[in-house]
Amino acid sequence: MAVSGLDVFGLWIGAALSLCIFSFLYRDNPFYRLAEHIFVGVSAGYYMCTGYWQVLQPNLIARLQDGDWRYAIAAVLGGMLLMRLWPKYAWVGRWPLAFMVGIYAGYNIVYTMQAQVLAQVSDTIVSLWNNPDWTATLKNWIILVGVLTSLAYFYFSVEHKGVIGQAARVGVWVLMITFGATFGYTVMARVSLLVGRVMYFQDVWTHTARWLGIS
């Protein structure tokens, strides 16, 4: 693979900026601040450009050009949102806000019911005996008892005393195992990221060496 000077320059820029970010581990310093401000500026710009070319252009502008005037409503609502920039007319921005909140409130109700409540309850209904092997049986018991006791922990209208209190205590243990497992898994994920960065620095070096004709 041919490596151009521009590629190598880019890689070094990226590596330098990465090092600026890593310098924060030592303490807050001007290099980090520089990188931080570049990062914030570039990502705000990045989101705006991709948003325009991948959403507004095809879904709004192209459709309006095709004469689908329903989309003018969306354009007006979007414009109203921008009124937030003028404090005097900021209240106008509540309309699109209310529209968005409404859409998702309605959406949440029906889809959460479908995907979370119904699906999870139905998955929790399992066979407590008559399983092909004892591991399945034991696992099903763990899931049933675990779900019930953890749900007891989320009971707000009763003090955690007596039976509910004991169930909630077992529930907390189940939750702690859940958190522990998630934590353990996450360690792997996070370390992978760091490994990825080390490989990136390695790549920077091999590309530079290739460009210089060393290797």
């Binding site: 914030v40 409540v117 779900v147």
Partner: protein, 258 residues
């Protein structure tokens, strides 16, 4: 009729009607005067303590409403917790910093915080850069928010809402800055970090309960009671369905399968 209604979603409709009915009934029951008992959540007491400490030290309070947009109910729940926190902080005439990851959320939190200062009688104390938009990218946001923690040295930091990978960056830097930290999220993958790094954590549904509890509005408390009733029914269905299923009757499970 077949061409009009999706019959395979009937179980969903019944479920939605049932939950809505349950919550609505308890809510309006509460409005008629039956003030329901709600257990005190320890993390909420910590909110007050943390604000109190900030006032004593004369340092700002930092409130992060998560990184999700308003299409996430956690963000909305967070905004309503923010409303109470802002009223509290504003009544002491202290600065409340709210960095945002989404501009729509920013326009919402700005409104809430500005109103809170006005309500507390200190409209002039609100400065427009208290509530700011950093950037949509979660790590750009984390970098910016960590910077704010190190420079402004807030005495109390609240992380309430939907958080992703940046949760630990925020919580560890907040910890290093020496602040009291209270977190609340329903995002399971980030809960362990908040549990490990923060002083108090609202777990899952507690986040939604928090806004109702803080408002002490009987209707809101009534809705919590309604949620409990729903959970009781869910637990009953699970036990009942499991026993029947183990005996070989699968109809409960079949009815629920979406």
């Amino acid at each position: 009729m077949d061409a009009f209604f999706c019959w395979d979603k009937l179980n969903n409709l019944i479920g939605v009607l049932f939950i809505s009915g349950c919550i609505a009934w308890h809510t309006f029951q509460a409005r008629r005067g039956a003030r329901p008992f709600i257990r005190r959540l320890p993390a909420l007491g910590a909110l007050d303590d943390a604000i109190g400490r900030a006032v004593e030290m004369g340092k700002p309070v930092l409130y992060i409403p998560g990184v999700a947009d308003i299409d996430d109910a956690q963000t909305l729940a967070s905004v309503s917790v923010l409303e109470r926190v802002a009223e509290d902080v504003a009544s002491y005439d202290m600065p409340l910093l709210v960095p945002n990851c989404c501009s729509v959320v920013m326009s919402m939190t700005q409104e809430v915080v500005r109103s809170a200062y006005a309500k507390a009688g200190h409209p002039e104390a609100f400065q427009s850069d208290y509530v700011r938009y950093l950037c949509d990218e979660q790590f750009g946001f984390a970098a910016g928010a960590s910077g704010i923690m190190m420079r402004e040295r807030p005495a109390a930091i609240f992380y309430i809402g939907n958080f992703l990978g940046e949760a630990l960056i925020l919580a560890e830097n907040g910890n290093a800055s020496g602040a009291i930290q209270v977190a609340g999220t329903a995002t399971v993958s980030q809960l362990p970090f908040f549990v490990a790094s923060c002083d108090y954590t609202l777990i899952g549904e507690e986040l939604y309960a928090a806004s109702a509890y803080l408002s002490q509005d009987p209707m809101q408390l009534g809705s919590l009671k309604g949620q409990d009733a729903v959970k009781a029914v869910i637990m009953f269905i699970i036990v009942f369905g499991t026993v029947l299923y183990s005996l070989g009757f699968t109809w409960v499970k079949d009815l629920l399968t979406p």
